[in-house]
């Protein structure tokens, strides 16, 4: 009847006597897997190119003289495959390989971390023999060797499947590990002098030789996860648990806006490790080392577990009961409402908690003075009246979910501006790289220099001096050309806000070229906070505060008194800080914000000192809690349920991994609101989700009320003699609040260097590695120089890395003019001498 014509790209074959249809080019091992036939394997990995190295997956194919590796054999019409289930030849071949894999394996499963979840152990059970016939001595190696501060290698356990080296080369582009030596002495190792002139064993500490290069990849943890034996282990987890004692909970990563699915393994209330979750639409099966290992902040010794209030008599913070602290917070905020309360919720919130802050600000505090952005909003010197980014977020980001990872991978061309994907959104980086390597995606980067990360994307550089981005986006023909093909994407980072006119130019360029536009912030909660209304110009759901109809609809839904929702956009982060510093605002309600991340940390701390009343909702002691009048402890991500919204706008919901009495921000805010006779209804994520779901639809006309900004493109500053324009962005692993205290992870951070071009190096008489001092009137940063192909008179510094705290030390943002001197500044030496 419905005789569906057989697709020409399909073939029919039989596996173990069962007829099966497969896509042309599909591997035999994959077809068998679909049928439920598990062929043992080690080197095979669905996301890596076939290797055929371990030979464990041998099967018999009719007409072939020898058994074939099913992980490299593609299907063919009429092929007759016999696996170990139906072929004695295949079964014997597999048993033979397994026996040989085990002769040099130490069989130290009782002390090996992998024991219990080890493909070698499992498949030795299914395919191996009970007793070994091997009577000789096993190969031995010095063990373990640290191939980075984080990753350890026990070479004698290795079966040389090359999954780790293939991942590093094919997926991450970090070929720091490779096969060394040959024959039974073949081993995985990092590049070391030992192999090229030393005694050639690869033993000893990495770093003994001048040419030693450790495994400093941001993605190194994935090699541990895909290692089919216990050869690669992580410093944090080694010898700490048995897999069968662990409870595994699905989770979502809280570190950046990439939105990785994760698996958190815990035991008796303690997280032991985190693994990349499997989500083909987002992170595939990978994550970055920050996401994998950056979880110790939640158990740091300075975790706050009890509310604190400032004692009226002593002026010191003291522990208090929840009721006392909540009452103090409510009273203090109530008293300040008439003068105004600024709300700085920070960018690490779940959508639910962000919504609670947004609703709390509007319904309890009666203010639009709320801004999640804990970073520079504009270039140093740009008047606060310019609200370019907030306008851009309202018009082009809130409620928009147009660009996905899949589109990135399959786009013909992507233009990046104000975004360094490897440092600021590592999984987006991996997807861009996949597109580049496998699908000829062309990447064009508007950036001061071609970083190693951009090189790995094969990116074409459109060099832009910081501050010039808007001009480049508006006028550069290479950028326009790169967006000419249908399906091209323009992906901008949050840093583009620091280039005057940058976001306006990006929006205009997208409109002009027809390219879809995506905005990639750095923090996990940033995007959700936009949509939840944690902005001075936006209510939840992307409703402009200026839209009377939207306010009315929301008032109705919130059962708020008429007139509670103001129609005037509130203060943004910079203005809230300014308002607190000059005494305009009566109180601040601050979430997870580190003043050091703000445009001017000194001013921010002055504001926190000056504001009459300060409420802090925090996990750990911070610069904010130390200054607060009331400190209310809240739950870290692992102890609460919630949802992050990734840069795509995709929701990443998770349940609490650990049972805890710690409360969410929303629950705490609800309690404060209750004391002020407002029912916030944000105490429970399910209640919030229900409420979010029941909010009236935000009809598109409302959003049309927000128009993209049209700030004129500025030009970069003109530095004078011995001056340069500052370029800066964050390293992935830096001094961020969620990473401090973890020395092992910090060991894999990129070294802090000051990058400058040949012109500056020559005029200052600097060679690579010489110290250079970058200074402003505020202070200075002294780092080794790294001569880089930068535009003339540009210097680059890591924003917040050891020895380079740009905002605190220099008090400026990208695009500012800074002074350069060779060597260490005399004044600091003089101070030190005093």
């Amino acid at each position: 009847m419905t005789d569906v014509a057989k697709k020409t790209d399909q073939v029919t074959l039989t596996v173990d006597g069962i007829e099966v249809t497969a896509e042309k080019g599909e591997l035999v091992i994959r077809v068998a897997e679909r049928m439920g036939v598990a062929i043992p394997r080690f080197c095979d990995h669905p996301l890596l190119a076939p290797a055929g190295a371990c030979r464990q997956c041998l099967v018999e194919v009719e007409g072939q003289r020898k058994p074939v590796a099913s992980c490299t054999q593609t299907v063919a019409e009429g092929m007759v495959v016999k696996t170990q289930l139906s072929s004695p030849v295949a079964a014997k071949a597999q048993a033979g390989i397994m026996e040989m894999l085990l002769i040099n394996h130490p069989l130290d499963c009782p002390t090996c971390d992998k024991g219990g979840e080890c493909p070698l152990q499992n498949q030795a059970m299914s395919t191996g023999r009970a007793e070994s016939r091997f009577k000789e001595e096993k190969r031995e190696y010095q063990k373990p060797i640290h191939i980075s501060s984080q990753v350890l290698l026990d070479r004698e356990r290795c079966v040389l499947c090359q999954r780790c080296t293939r991942f590093s080369e094919e997926i991450a582009g970090d070929k720091f590990i490779d096969l060394m030596d040959r024959s039974s002495g073949e081993q995985i190792n990092v590049y070391r002098d030992d192999f090229f002139g030393g005694d050639g064993t690869g033993d000893g500490e990495v770093g003994d030789g001048e040419g030693d290069v450790p495994f400093n990849s941001y993605f190194s943890g994935n090699t541990i996860q895909i290692c089919p034996v216990g050869a690669l282990t992580g410093e944090q987890y080694r010898f700490r648990a048995r897999p069968f004692d662990l409870v595994s909970s699905p989770s979502a990563c809280e570190h950046c806006a990439s939105g990785c699915a994760q698996r958190t393994d815990h035991r008796r209330g303690k997280v032991l490790r985190r693994l990349a979750g499997d989500d083909p639409a987002v992170n595939e099966e990978w994550n970055c080392d920050k996401g994998r290992w950056g979880f110790r902040y939640a158990t740091a010794t300075d975790r706050i577990t009890t509310p604190l209030v400032r004692d009226a008599k002593t002026g010191e913070l003291r522990e208090a009961s929840w009721s006392e602290a909540l009452y103090a917070a409510a009273e203090g905020l109530k008293a300040a409402i008439s003068r105004g309360v600024g709300v700085l919720p920070g960018g690490r919130l779940t959508v639910e908690d962000a919504y609670a802050y947004a609703k709390f600000a509007r319904t309890v505090l009666g203010t639009n003075d709320i801004d999640f952005r804990a970073r520079p909003l504009r270039a140093t010197g740009t008047p606060v009246s310019v609200t370019e980014e907030a306008d851009f977020l309202a018009a082009a980001v809130a409620g928009v979910t147009e660009v996905t990872y899949e589109q990135v991978e399959n786009a013909p061309s992507v233009v990046l501006a104000g975004l360094e994907p490897e440092e600021e959104s590592p999984i987006l980086f991996l997807r861009l790289r996949k597109g580049h390597v496998k699908k000829k995606l062309k990447v064009t980067a508007v950036s001061p220099y071609l970083s190693r990360g951009l090189e790995k994307l094969g990116a074409a550089l459109v060099a832009a001096v910081p501050g010039d981005e808007a001009h480049v986006l508006s006028t550069d023909s290479a950028v326009a050309e790169a967006l000419s093909a249908p399906g091209s994407l323009l992906i901008v980072g949050e840093r583009l806000a620091e280039a005057p006119g940058g976001l306006s130019a990006a929006a205009a360029l997208a409109a002009r070229s027809g390219a879809k536009l995506a905005w990639v912030p750095r923090r996990a909660g940033d995007r959700g906070a936009v949509d939840a209304g944690c902005l001075p110009n936006l209510l939840p759901g992307g409703r402009p505060v200026t839209d009377a109809a939207a306010r009315a609809a929301l008032s109705l839904a919130w059962k708020a008194e008429p007139g509670v929702l103001h129609g005037t956009p509130g203060r943004d982060t910079d203005r809230i800080i300014a308002g607190a510093a000059d005494g305009t605002l009566g109180a601040l309600l601050v979430g997870g914000v580190d003043p050091a991340d703000l445009a001017d940390p000194k001013l921010a701390e002055e504001a926190l000192d000056a504001v009459p009343f300060l409420v802090s909702l925090e996990i750990r002691q911070s610069a904010v809690t130390r200054r607060a009048d009331v400190v209310l402890p809240i739950a870290p991500a692992v102890e609460k349920a919630g949802t992050y919204m990734d840069w795509e706008g995709r929701l990443r919901s998770f349940d609490a991994v650990l049972k805890s009495t710690a409360m969410t921000d929303g629950r705490v805010l609800e309690a404060i609101a209750a004391l002020l006779d407002v029912t916030l209804n944000t105490g429970d994520v399910h209640a919030i989700r229900r409420e979010l779901g029941s909010l009236p639809g935000n009809a598109s006309p409302n959003r049309a009320a927000s128009t993209v900004p049209s700030v004129a493109a500025a030009r970069a500053a003109e530095p004078g003699e011995h001056e340069a324009v500052l370029a800066t962005w964050h390293h992935l692993i830096d001094l961020g609040s969620l990473l401090d205290g973890d020395q092992v992870l910090a060991g894999t951070a990129r070294p802090s260097v000051a990058r400058l071009g040949k012109d500056l190096a020559e005029s200052l008489g600097l060679a690579d590695g010489d110290l250079v001092t970058v200074s402003t009137v505020r202070g200075s940063v002294t780092l080794p120089a790294a001569i880089t192909d930068l535009p003339p008179r540009v210097v680059w510094l890591p924003t917040n890395s050891p020895g380079s705290t740009v905002r605190r030390s220099l008090g400026v943002t990208a695009g500012a003019v800074v002074k350069l001197t060779a060597g260490v500044p005399g004044s600091i030496l003089a101070e030190g001498a005093l």
């Binding site: 030979r55 390989i97 040989m100 040099n104 000789e136 096969l179 040959r182």
Partner: protein, 438 residues
Amino acid sequence: MTQPRPEVLQKLTPVLTKRWLSPDAWQIGVYERLDGYLALRKALDVHPDDLIQLIKDSGLRGRGGAGFPTGLKWGFIPQGDGKPHYLVINADEGEPGTCKDLPLMTYDPHSLVEGAIIASYAIRANRAFIYIRGEAVHAARRLRHAVQEAYAKGFLGKNILGSGFDLDLVVHSGAGAYICGEETALLDSLEGFRGQPRLRPPFPAIAGLYASPTVVNNVGTIASVPYIVLGGADWWKSMGTEKSAGPMIYSLSGRVVNPGQYECGLGITLRELIELAGGMQPGHELKFWTPGGSSTPILTAEHIDTPMDFEGVAAAGSILGTTAMQIFSDQDCPVYNTWRWLEFYHHESCGKCTPCREGNYWMVRTYRRILAGQGTVADLDTLQDTADNIFGRSFCGLGDGAATPVVSTLKWFRDDYLGYIEGRTAPRLSEKSLVGAH
């Protein structure tokens, strides 16, 4: 020493070896006086496709061991594909017992250069490489000298002899890895990577050197080309047998009076070759021998009349290989010899695949134990089984080569093994050699 009988002497067909004894034949002037570079002139006058057809018609089969028809291989190169084509000559001769290419390149390097130019012209390659074994320093020196001379004479470079055909020929020395004689490992090594065999498909004819269509041929194969061009396919086929046409350099080593290279038509027998080599050494009686290097199953005295062509040797259960015939006598021990070969294969395994890397590690140690008088009968079954688990299971042919002498000596000479195990034969290795043997 006995003189070979005239009818056996007549079986010598010096073609590729004909200049070896001429003084200074490695110099271009001498080479040219001895018919050198005549074939090149002739070849450049005909269409490349006709050259490929000529080689097909001649029945030339690869001299590197596998005996693949050369004309067919050249025909696989897609023409008009817009991609660069490459000719890569495998001069990484390293198989134990094999010694035909190195003397050829030492004494008559121009024949290889001339063959390379003609072959490149046929497959439309403008760049050719000779990948020569790193240890073969003298041969490489002669070869580089020959290439320089050929450039100076206009046989290499731009517009060769006014034909409009350009060719650059590069002599590349390897770094001492047997595995780089495997053609895909050779290509990886040539590209600057670690020498390990590649996954096939794609085959080199489609994606070889730098992912472009590439012909990889043995030295002997390419050096045969000028003679076929000059003499014609019918002349070439007048030597050898119907399916194994042409002359072949047989390298005899071991217990014969005059070891060396004897070029005869394919199909000659070992009995005749031994006669050409002056007979067995006095007091030695043939016990076992390799027909084509240590990777080919050994044969015994009973195979002395086997025709030494591709089909004849296959029928006897072995492989013609590189016609490197190592002759062992009743004073040689097959167990000891197998161990020596295994040490070689173990040392030269690239380590990529499990059976070759681990299996050789295991077998070498078992042999050491047997030769030290500590073997057991069960070891023989384990050896046999391990060799079976390596053969046909490894990524490339190296593993097969290692398993082969084990299987074939166990088949023919099990009693020699039992001699060590049962204490009838004095141990050849001391127990000391086992200490720390890993």
